[in-house]
Symmetry: C2
Subunit: 333 residues, 2 copies
């Protein structure tokens, strides 16, 4: 059973894989990503993954067979396990609990080599709707406190499989940075009685030097204190704490259009860079959250993380966000 | 002038390089590290760096000429500038100040290709003593609040020059993670009236499954909630908040022996991995700090940082620290 261990100094949890006998990870060089036809995420290889928990498929096509446009399957090498109790425990001054949770893979396309930026908007909408469906299913499990949805595109960004996919990790704790962000929003709300993200959207529309793209529902911008060159955030224009709370399918279409536009512009300006994105949403079950506003943070992986950045949370960004915005806005897709 | 910008949601400052006209950073591929003899850090190329601010050299050898064993020079492409005022300013809901500070390079050896793990203990002691000397000089500047000393070994770890060096960045703010760690220690102290780091050392000596090395002054251990495979912390056994407060040279010798042992063991077990280390010390000028204990955190860069780790501060570590400790302890150097 994997273990969740808490740093005794700061409130940071780490998943430690405690299965002995597995060789520790030793080298920087990893195996190159699998190519079709041995790719477990390709159409025709459905038996290479655990059984699907969600799919979008042709009417009448059999589960776990071909005929799909999107599948969600449990991760074959999960960081967390669905079975078991949390068994919270102290060991001297240390704290741990069992690594209970879920770890799923969203296979975004049956076609090896196709990425989100190649897909039409309907295809990206299908991916976003799958995220929503899995979140709404998993939040019924009372042991789980938070669901992270993220994507690693390209091996430099941490993808171990070449075939386009995203991941979902459901956790029994709320990660520290999420708590921090929510508390940051709460402090602002207490002071101003307004959502800081709503205020940012208003100021960015006024300033108009960091807005990359917008449609009637969503806005994409380079954040004022961007940590990385060409960092981009996508936010819904209307206040909403939960990613999964968009009710209407055309809301996800507008979001898909925004995401598609940013990714296509990255491809042009930055030469199809590796990237990560992560969906920041309020933990579920909190009802009204006037101080938090869900959003997607996208980071192209253009520079190496240096030593002090993970140690201090302090970043040096060589590209001003206003300049990144200019490049992205000017580029035709 | 570079700019320090504050994230409006959480208390995170970022250095934004605002000099226009410089091309933005576009690609993952960086130029390969310079080789001698064009290496600006090599003996004989002293004129390729800004004038030295500290050196260890043969008696009578001229400043900025050959004859040195260690030099400290200002970074030629500094993230921060020594000149000017902070000029703190609000722009709507955003906050910024000028990027005032210092950015120095500690050239650890005149020999291209020699790294810390090849040096004798006296050589490493010289590096640590240089850190101390520069910190004690820079803390006299009232504008500065914190000094980060760190090392990127290898291009994967972020080093842009091949020649062995560390860096020092003096900042007008205390970075968020440092504040967090100090507050974590303070919370524990309020509850227990003891230093959490002192308690960790006591428990680790008792448990004896995560201690990699110790001598009479220092201890090296794999932290209980290690974020990364083979993460190692080095702490002084005696409570001390400030890295620069070791008074006696043999304290730095004991520290050098500990650092040398860990790095040599990394070389054997992990095949000379790229790594980062960072010195965590209390911000200066706070007098007695019974709740904080300086230490060095060392991270071999064996795995790629995945997308959700920077977004959530939540880590998945495939190697239990007890297993890493076993490998490191058993390895003869």
């Amino acid at each position: 059973m994997p273990e969740l261990r808490k740093d005794p100094i700061i409130d940071r949890w780490v998943i430690i894989s405690t299965e002995r006998g597995k060789r520790p990870v030793f080298f920087v060089e990893e195996a190159p990503p699998a190519k079709a036809p041995m790719c477990p995420l390709c159409q025709g290889n459905e038996n290479m993954t655990p059984p699907e928990v969600y799919s979008a498929r042709q009417d009448g096509s059999p589960q776990n067979g071909p005929g799909w446009t999107l599948r969600v399957v449990p991760n074959k090498f999960p960081a967390l396990r669905v079975e078991g109790n949390l068994d919270k425990e102290g060991i001297g001054l240390y704290d741990k609990m069992n690594g209970v949770g879920a770890h799923e893979v969203i296979i975004e396309t049956p076609h090896h080599g196709e990425t989100l930026s190649h897909m039409d908007i309907g295809g990206i909408q299908r991916v976003l709707v799958a995220y929503r469906a899995r979140i709404l299913d998993l939040i019924r499990d009372q042991r789980l406190k938070y669901i992270m949805v993220f994507k690693n595109q390209g091996s430099v960004a941490g993808a171990s499989l070449d075939h386009s996919h995203s991941q979902l990790i459901a956790l029994p704790i709320v990660p520290r940075r999420v708590v921090e962000e929510i508390n940051g929003g709460l402090n602002y709300y207490k002071f101003k009685d307004r959502c800081v993200f709503c205020d940012i959207i208003a100021q960015e529309k006024e300033d108009n030097v960091r807005v990359v793209f917008e449609n009637d529902k969503c806005i994409a911008l380079s954040p004022y204190a961007s940590r990385f060159p060409f960092e981009t955030w996508i936010l819904p224009k209307k206040h909403e704490p939960y990613f999964a709370s968009f009710e209407r399918m055309d809301d996800y279409f507008a979001l898909a259009e925004t995401l598609s536009t940013v990714l296509k512009k990255y491809d042009r300006v930055l030469n199809s860079p590796p990237y990560n994105y992560i969906i920041h949403t309020a933990p579920f079950g909190n009802g009204q959250v006037p101080h938090y506003h869900w959003h997607i943070e996208i980071i192209p992986r253009l520079t190496k993380m240096a030593g002090f950045e993970w140690g201090t949370g302090f970043y040096i960004n060589p590209t001003p966000p206003e300049e990144a915005t200019e490049y992205l806005k000017e580029t035709q897709i």
